[in-house]
């Protein structure tokens, strides 16, 4: 599978990355090379292999349903660019 410039533009947009138009061909070629590398695995018969969700073969540890966190709003909001009445402020989101 190989990617073209439009694919790269789309991927960059979804990841909110700014990509210079001039470098699109280079990225397309590099990303395509990665996909080709991964595609080599298609040659292996995996019909008897369970999909791997995590490299560690362990089960998820669970925690008891207890409130253990105190309010640290002042601390967290200290690094926020803009806050008002306890809310984080962001550029207007229009639906």
């Amino acid at each position: 599978m190989s990617l073209d410039n439009d694919d790269v533009r789309q991927i960059a947009h979804l990841a909110r990355l700014a990509v210079d138009d001039q470098r699109l061909p280079e990225h397309a070629s590099n990303l395509s090379a990665i996909l080709e590398f991964v595609e080599a695995m298609s040659a292996v018969d995996t019909s008897n292999v369970d999909p791997l969700a995590h490299p560690l073969e362990m089960r998820q540890r669970l925690r008891a349903d207890e409130v253990s966190e105190d309010n640290q709003r002042e601390l967290f909001q200290g690094i926020a660019p803009a806050v008002e009445d306890g809310l984080y402020l962001v550029p207007r989101v229009i639906e």
Binding site: Q10, H13, L14, R16, P51, A53, H54, L56, M58, R59, Q60, R61, L62, R63, A64, D65, E66, V67, S68, E69, N71, Q72, R73, F76, Q77, A82, E84, D85, G86, L87, Y88, L89, V90, P91, R92, V93, E95
Partner: protein, 478 residues
């Protein structure tokens, strides 16, 4: 052309845990903004999610109640998108391997018919925060208290064929999650909401039409109205030669219409992948059986039992078991009323429910306890008061005048059952209405009601109506 509507619902039920799904922050509703958003909820670097055991238990309870399979092995995935109320840039959800899958519920329709609706899956995920647009100029305020609240997303099969069916299904799930005590079901606070996928196809065609998804419907009434609007919109579009666009739409409850939500042409591309921060969730059959043993009696079983044990009609049993609180209240009333089930059913569904609605109260804070209502019903069945007087006694109890016996005593409402006293009143009424008496004797039977009314009035409602009827008939026929 005749069209068939195809509807599937995605219901989001906030799970009633104390803490969040992946952090120890509180989930209590209504706190000051961002006071319950900890480092994990904010997606700060270096934090790790740890799954809440109770959220998993609740998902299993739901799965067992709907005949679903509980996955021995399920996986959490990242659903990637950018929105300010989602600080991490992804929502932790489940994609390919949900915790619960393939079950069903039976819903009851208005005409009494029942219908099976498939549950495709139910998966665990975290809720996002809230965006507040009001009161800000050019900016949006973000409250992340809700971020990380556990949700169970319940996805139905596209089995529903009308807005009414969709509402009946949603009510059934609502009743179930409350019976199971896994969700408070509060729709105003957003604890229980749904997205509706609606499409049309020519009747008889197997292939589905293109669907539109109506987001965030938070009342049963809105679900019905939004779906009906959408059905009409799509039929108009299709019949005028247009096509339905696959898109997300919002329901505007003020205008009563749905409108397109995103104008950008980009299709949703969430790039799901397994979350490396979370190991697969393993559930053993022993754990499932332990949970199964703790399940309460569910609405369908309770309804059957009410019909069998109390001799109630399917309709009455259905209404009384719609909520667990109401079913429990009813049973406590029956017990206090020495088994007068039919009378108890009528009062619980009638005057009692009416009073709750009128005052906007929940069963839990009713001023009349089951013992008080049952005690009053005993006074009806032992003829101390008539059903009519009981309405006054009930109001008095509701207004805090004490239990039935105290009200009857204080207001002198004890029914007159002394037949001598009733006969005296009847004689007076007959003597005062010679014209009606003549007509009655000439064959105008309907006048019996008039005489009964006059006697009851003369007794200030306290005469036993059955006795009045019997004695009147005798006296009138001479």
């Amino acid at each position: 052309m005749e069209w068939e509507t195809v509807i599937g619902l995605e219901i989001h039920a906030q799970l009633a845990t104390r803490s969040k799904i992946f952090s120890g922050a509180s989930t209590a509703y209504g706190a000051e903004p961002n006071t319950q958003a900890c480092a994990v909820d904010l997606g700060l670097p270096g934090v790790l999610p740890v799954l809440n055991a109770e959220a998993v238990n609740m998902a299993i309870r739901f799965g067992l109640a709907t005949g679903c399979s509980i996955a021995p092995h399920s996986v959490f995935a990242r659903k990637n998108y950018f929105y300010p109320d989602l600080p991490k840039g992804y929502q932790i959800s489940q994609y390919e391997l949900p915790v619960v899958h393939e079950g069903e519920v039976i819903i009851e329709l208005d005409d009494g018919e029942t219908m099976r609706v498939g549950v495709t899956r139910a998966h665990l995920e975290e809720d996002a925060g809230k965006s507040l647009h009001e009161g800000f100029e050019g900016v949006t305020g973000i409250d992340l208290n809700r971020a990380g609240t556990p949700l169970l997303e319940i996805v139905s099969e596209p089995d529903l064929r009308s807005a009414k069916q969709a509402v009946a299904y949603m009510k059934k799930i609502h009743s179930l999650v409350r019976y199971l005590e896994i969700c408070d079901g509060n729709m105003q606070e957003g604890s229980f909401r749904c997205d509706a996928n609606v499409s049309m196809r020519p009747k008889g065609q197997e292939k589905f039409g293109t669907r539109a998804e109506i987001k965030n419907l938070n009342s049963f009434r809105f679900v019905e109205k939004a779906i009906n609007y959408e059905i009409e919109r799509q039929i108009d579009l299709l019949e005028s030669g247009g096509t339905v666009v696959q898109e997300t739409r919002l329901y505007d409850s003020v205008k009563g219409e749905t409108r397109s939500m995103r104008t950008k042409e980009e299709a949703n591309d969430y790039r799901y992948f397994p979350d490396p921060d979370l190991l697969p969730l393993e559930i053993t059959s022993e754990e499932v059986e332990q949970i199964r043993a703790t399940l309460p009696e569910l609405p369908d079983a309770k309804k059957e039992r009410f019909m069998a044990d109390y001799g109630l009609s399917a309709y009455d049993a259905g209404v009384l078991t719609a909520s667990r609180d109401q079913a429990d209240f009813f049973e406590a009333v029956v017990q206090a009323a020495d088994g007068e089930a039919k009378l108890a059913a009528n009062w619980v569904m009638g005057d009692f429910s009416g009073a709750l609605n009128r005052d906007g109260r929940e069963i839990g804070d009713s001023p009349v306890s089951p013992e008080m209502l049952g005690g009053m019903l005993k006074r009806i069945s032992d003829n101390t008061i008539s059903g009519k007087i009981a309405k006054d006694v009930f109001e008095a109890m509701w207004n805090g005048e004490g239990d039935a016996d105290a009200v009857i005593e204080a207001r002198g409402l004890k029914q007159v059952t002394d037949s001598g006293a009733i006969e005296a009143m009847i004689d007076e009424v007959i003597a005062a209405n010679p014209g009606q008496l003549e007509q009655y004797r000439a064959g105008k039977d309907k006048l019996l009601g008039f005489f009964v009314g006059q006697v009851m009035k003369a007794s200030k409602g306290k005469a036993n109506p059955a006795q009045v009827n019997e004695l009147l008939k005798k006296k009138l026929s001479g």
